[in-house]
């Protein structure tokens, strides 16, 4: 009796940790007022930046950064701060030159992190009290939690730019992302009522339009079948198979190609799925799980992929 219950609780927590966060505006980082991001001089240390854990003062240009967040790792390399990163967590698999170690961002070992003698630790999730533990050791820690919106994702890049002395590169990257995304949104012309199902795993967990990833689809004018789910699902509902089949979405996006080995073939083999429009009409779009879970520069690539699929669907229709 106790065991299954315990597991239920553990799982509920695991999902809460893994899934939420990005849905809660209260935990997001806010743009700094005035000083930090506005300064264009790269060497303006000490500088105060704002993360999910509040204002963080960085005394000098960090040269020994440990990144426990795959998104932050991508951000840092994209703004030219890659050679200041000495260690990244075990999930930081992009870009290829990222110094991936066996450090874990989910179960951080403070002693192992301190062993790298970092002058800045960037992390996303906070299990326990990582931030204060690091501060007790005199290590500056900056938390950048899952971004609920693109604006917060941009701001995190700006904050990282300011924190590492790459303010201009960060601003340029954000500008590039903004214009690329604007171009994709402007060019989007999906057939009216093009619907999609976004699959997080092979038990039909999905996302609603309230989530970071869901908002990307909304920007392109696509209709999310998971939005039929009422409030209270936290943005990541588990859909009924029969509902998905009955909705018969035009497009199916698979964000579980790595985790769960899903593909157009495995979807077609599921009981009752073979006759779906997306299956027969080539509307299954395999995504890179990693890109789909992060809120870094590759969001543009993800949006491009979604946009291409929508365009193909529109021309086929």
């Amino acid at each position: 009796m106790g065991k299954p219950l315990g597991i239920l609780v553990a799982v509920a927590l695991a999902f809460a940790l893994a899934a939420c966060g990005s849905d809660d505006p209260a935990t997001s980082s806010r743009p700094t007022g005035g000083g930090a991001t506005a300064s264009t001089r790269a060497a303006a240390f000490p500088i105060t930046v704002t993360g999910t854990n509040g204002d963080v003062t960085i005394d000098a240009r960090p040269e020994r950064i440990v990144s426990l967040s795959p998104t932050a790792t991508e951000d840092l390399f994209a703004i030219g701060a890659g050679d200041q990163v000495i260690a990244a967590d075990d999930q930081s698999n992009y870009p290829a030159e990222a110094p991936t170690t066996d450090l874990s961002g989910f179960e951080p070992n403070v002693e192992a992190i301190a062993g790298y003698e970092p002058d800045l630790v960037v992390y996303a999730t906070e299990p326990g009290d990582l931030g204060s533990s690091l501060e007790d050791l005199g290590i500056t820690a900056l938390q950048l939690d899952a971004a609920p919106t693109l604006d917060v994702a941009y701001d995190q890049i700006d904050q990282l730019g300011a924190a590492t002395g790459h303010t201009d590169e960060a601003a340029a990257l954000v500008e590039q992302m903004r214009s690329d995304i604007q171009a994709l949104v402007d060019g989007a012309d999906p057939a009216a009522g093009t619907s999609f199902y976004y699959e997080l795993d092979d038990t039909f967990y999905s996302v609603t339009s309230k989530t970071f990833i869901g908002k990307l689809f909304t920007m392109l004018g696509l209709e999310n079948i998971a939005d039929a789910v009422g409030k209270g699902s936290g943005g990541y509902p588990q859909l009924s198979a029969e509902y998905i089949i009955d909705s018969d979405p035009d497009l199916i996006f698979l964000a579980d190609t790595k985790c769960c080995d899903q593909s157009a073939e495995t979807v077609a083999e599921r009981p009752g799925w073979a006759g779906l429009a997306a299956v027969t009409g080539g509307g299954i779009v395999p995504l890179d799980d990693d890109v789909a879970q992060r809120w870094g520069p590759r969001v543009v690539d993800l949006l491009q992929q979604i946009s291409d699929a929508a365009a193909a669907e529109a021309s086929a229709a």
């Binding site: 075990d90 179960e107 009924s240």
Partner: protein, 367 residues
Amino acid sequence: MSVPEAAVRRRLSARARATALGVVVLVAAVLIGLLVGPVRIGAANVFRWLFSFGNAPPGMSEQQALILADLRLPRVIVAGLVGASLAASGAAYQAVFRNPLADPYLLGAAAGAGLGATIAVAYGPSGALDLTVPAAAFVGALLGVGLAYGLGRSSLGGRATTSLVLAGVAVASFLTAVQTFLQQQRSETLRQVYTWILGRLGTTGWDDVRLALPSVALAIATLWAVRRLLDVIEVGDVEAQSLGLNVTRLRLVVVIAASLATAAAVAVAGLIGFVGLIVPHTVRLMVGGSYRSVLPLSVLFGASFLILVDTLARTVIAPAEIPIGVITAFIGAPFFVVVLRRNGGAGGLKKRVRSASGSPPDGREAA
């Protein structure tokens, strides 16, 4: 033996009534399970579909026939098999361990299944996932129970039931530790393992029916066949032995059968708590403590209970689903407390578990 004839007849008719009720409830549960879902199909359509044996009757879309044939029907069947397995093995464990709190996961079946699933997800070949994970969970559950049984038997000798339960606790902790360690090594598969363990009736198909049916049928048939002996063994090892029963062998057979049923249930549905506790106890409160009634009725009501709970799981917040284990605990725990209070608390419950069929008090309770 010396029970008056009238009492015997009364008990028989009470049992017949309860069995009839169980069958009616099961049929109703199956129909409700087929009729209700996030997609509206319409009662008339469902009945016409049933009577045309799965061919889409006129006026019904192909999609609807597909949903009934490939999703709802196998899901109802699997829910029924799992509910029957958990309830029957719960009743059997409670008998052979003489413990009202014994449940199907007691001897490390859950921990073993979890470890098996984790190994398959984290290290198994990619691709053939659909079958390797449940199969690994099945093997893991049997290994967990086998380990607990082996350890419990070889230690402490005399106090067989206590040492078995303690060995089960130790094995479960050990296997859970191994599982946690492996998950840490492969943290990217963490979520998948948990989703899997939490329950997967949402993805049930005919494959799961084929996977579960043979083991469940074999296990329940075995438990059904020995149901009278469960009454004897529950009185006590010494007493049962003096009646000429090979207690050690019977306990082994019952533990193997119950574990087989549990392993099959975990393999197709993940961990679902409370069914193995509340169903047998509720049945006991209805018809008394004799396993001649408790076991068959646990099978019937266990199947109905889980079919109905699964129907709730896919309709309450449709088109989203609620993990089924959450509902069994959410409904099960308060319901159980109500039943318990109305029937004289834990003392009354324990008396019912222990009172075997031959003893006179049972005759009165059944009336």
